[in-house]
């Protein structure tokens, strides 16, 4: 089978759809956080921490749903810590993000040894079982994680555009002082937005771990950072961010397919998503409409 056949096959499509989920959730978490005015590079650590939380809870309880709840809760918790440090403590958001990523990277390895006595991976878990006996296409498109992600993207877009909460959230992101002056509780709004974004990212981390049926040290593999780039490329909007994530996921899937099909050194393909991210950042740079005007600013 030639590389082209594989690319056009259903496997590639299924691969892309599966990989879109963690990217998409993390990017959505980034949109929610940054539209409220809080830069969030802790997405990477959030994915990692929630992946372990999901696996650990699912392994201990034997229930996939408990694992999902744990992953989402863990994501929200990381978001909450980031928010408390940045919004209440006024620590620089990048500093907080770097520190949280470090804690997540070290902490997950620490817990891996504490819980399972291994420095590289957890025992296997069952993951989410659904649609046994369905075709590949149905199983891909009706994946509960994919459907939930899509629903969350839609809900977020609607929330940001139409609801009182969403408008206030955006007001905090565009001009925190003005928002404060008209009576919006900027600190509370931002804390809620970042924690909510963390919860959504946690869903992505859970999907990532369930997809591989285990936790592996460092398994987020830069996806949180790429998702953040997708946020920038999208102009901080939910649907375009999801679309950008689809593109990055397709590239990721392509990379894996080509890895098996061609004689190119594996490293050339491995750097592809990251080079593409840089190119995408350059391509969107001339576009009008930058980040939320109050990104990183505190109310007076």
């Amino acid at each position: 089978m030639s590389a082209l056949d594989v690319i056009l096959s259903g496997t590639m499509l299924a691969q892309t759809a599966r990989m879109t989920i963690p990217y998409g959730c993390a990017a959505l978490g980034g949109v929610l956080s940054e539209r409220s005015g809080v830069v969030n590079i802790a997405l990477e650590g959030t994915l990692l921490a929630s992946a372990l939380a999901a696996v650990a809870a699912s392994h201990a309880s034997g229930s996939a749903l408990v694992g999902i709840a744990a992953g989402v809760t863990c994501g929200a918790a990381v978001g909450l810590v980031h928010a408390l440090l940045v919004v209440r403590g006024r620590v620089d958001a990048i500093v907080s993000g770097i520190a949280l990523n470090l804690v997540a990277a070290g902490g997950t390895r620490f817990l891996l040894r504490a819980l399972y006595g291994s420095s590289s991976n957890s025992p296997r878990i069952q993951g989410l079982r659904f649609g046994e006996g369905w075709g590949l296409l149905a199983r891909t498109l009706l994946d509960p994680f994919l459907l939930t992600t899509l629903a969350v993207v839609g809900a977020s877009a609607w929330m940001l555009a139409r609801t009182r909460f969403g408008l206030r959230l955006r007001a905090c992101g565009e001009d925190p002082s003005a928002a404060q002056a008209v009576g919006v509780h900027v600190v509370g709004m931002r804390t809620a937005a970042v924690a909510l974004g963390g919860a959504v990212t946690g869903l992505g981390g859970t999907a990532l771990a369930y997809d591989l049926h285990q936790f592996q040290a460092g398994m987020s593999g830069g996806r949180g950072f790429i998702a953040l780039a997708a946020v920038i490329v999208s102009g901080w909007r939910p649907w375009p961010a999801a679309a950008a994530c689809l593109a990055f996921a397709a590239l990721d899937a392509l990379q894996i397919v080509l890895q098996n099909q061609t004689k190119l050194p594996s490293q050339v393909l491995a750097m592809l998503p990251f080079v593409a991210t840089l190119v995408a950042l350059v391509l969107v740079s001339k576009r009008r409409g930058g980040p939320p005007a109050g990104l990183g600013k505190h109310p007076a």
Binding site: R90, V95, I98, A99, G106, G107, L281
Partner: protein, 356 residues
């Protein structure tokens, strides 16, 4: 948060206190005795002259990457790419060092290898610098992407590029002239530890860089740009060029960290050598911000944590120390901010007292 504010001692003390607390809690949760583990950490680091030497060895690359990150931070730029810049710099140092004629005198070989490492690091930082200056791409994202690309590129150069010895992921040995001598040739009590004279280069570099913040035009300009870029643009300072230059110089310094790893320790480059020092440098810079003494102290602190992690690894996972690093960084940043606000409030109260 002012990125260029000088660090206050109380914030550092608060950070250490929180770090100690986190250490106790984590060790206790793991089921070990915090007191016994703290004893092991002390014994394995400053308790013996070998341990102290190993701390100095671990602190050396951290000091270089720390000043690298600090210089960029001075201009308001987060160079998260020190990791990748160090990787390509180390590769360059290893390759150049290995390809020199074997009799090359140290006065020629060492500067050549160092220059190669710095050039490679600078080149790796040039990409995010240009993306920032010409296209406004945020340096945090682009430097992170360059780290990932460096991982693959170094592997590619070693493997498919044929720079590694056949069947390995390491370069040939560098010529003796390009090696940095071990400190134990001078201080026999450090015998066996991997600390090298690269540490002294690092300390000299730290004072050189922090002095340049005050004494050179470039240093003063990037500091002022970090505080208020628009005001500097109005003063006809070429802000864009200065930002690009700051990131490139930062990359060059990060590349120089290979003095401690490739030239001072292994004597060759292998894949993964020095990994983690780039991220450690971020912590060093955040703690020691702008002050030579602070940077050296921070590098020693995190060097101690790294070496201490190895000392307790048989009982408690050494990754504990990564967690502590993150916690200390958060605590110091938080305390610094709280103290800054407190003193600003005190100043205001004092001013009001004078007026009334």
């Amino acid at each position: 948060m002012k990125l260029t504010s000088s660090r206050s001692l109380p914030a550092a003390v608060a950070g250490l206190a929180v770090g100690w607390l986190a250490f106790c809690v984590l060790v206790w949760l793991y089921g070990a005795s915090p007191r016994a583990m703290a004893g092991l950490v002390l014994e394995g680091t400053w308790g013996t002259s070998y341990g102290a030497g190993q701390v100095l060895f671990k602190a050396t690359p951290l000091l270089f990457t720390g000043i690298a990150v600090d210089l960029a931070l001075r201009a308001g730029l987060f160079n998260i790419g020190a990791e990748g810049q160090l990787a390509v710099g180390s590769l360059a140092a290893g390759v150049i060092g290995a390809h020199l004629p074997s009799g090359t005198p140290a006065l020629v070989a060492l500067p050549l290898a160092l220059a190669g490492a710095m050039a490679a690091g600078a080149l790796w930082a040039l990409v995010p610098a240009l993306l920032k200056g010409r296209f406004g791409a945020h340096e945090v994202i682009s430097t992170i992407m360059m780290n990932r690309i460096a991982d693959s590129a170094v592997g590619l150069a070693l493997g498919a590029g044929g720079l590694a010895l056949t069947g390995t992921v390491r370069t040939a040995d560098v010529v003796p002239g390009a090696r940095v001598a071990r400190l134990d040739t001078w201080l026999p009590s450090l015998k066996g530890s991997a600390a090298s004279f690269a540490l002294l280069f690092g300390i000299a570099g730290t004072f050189l860089v922090t002095e340049s913040y005050r004494r050179t035009r470039f240093g003063r300009e990037i500091g002022l740009i970090g505080q208020n870029a628009r005001a500097m643009a109005a003063e006809k300072v070429p802000v864009r060029a200065r930002l690009e230059q700051a990131l490139v110089v930062s990359g060059a310094i990060a590349g120089a960290a290979s003095l401690g790893t490739v030239l001072g320790y292994k004597g060759y480059f292998e894949e993964g050598l020095g990994a983690g020092a780039g991220f450690g440098g971020l912590a060093v810079a955040i703690l020691g911000r702008g002050s030579a003494v602070g940077l050296v102290f921070a590098a020693l602190l995190f060097g101690t944590l790294q070496q201490g992690g190895l000392a307790v690894n048989a009982f408690v996972p050494k990754e504990l120390m990564d967690v502590l690093t993150g916690v200390v960084v958060c605590a110091v940043a938080l305390a610094d901010e709280a103290i800054g606000r407190h003193s600003a409030m005190a100043r205001r109260t004092a001013a009001e007292t004078v007026v009334s």
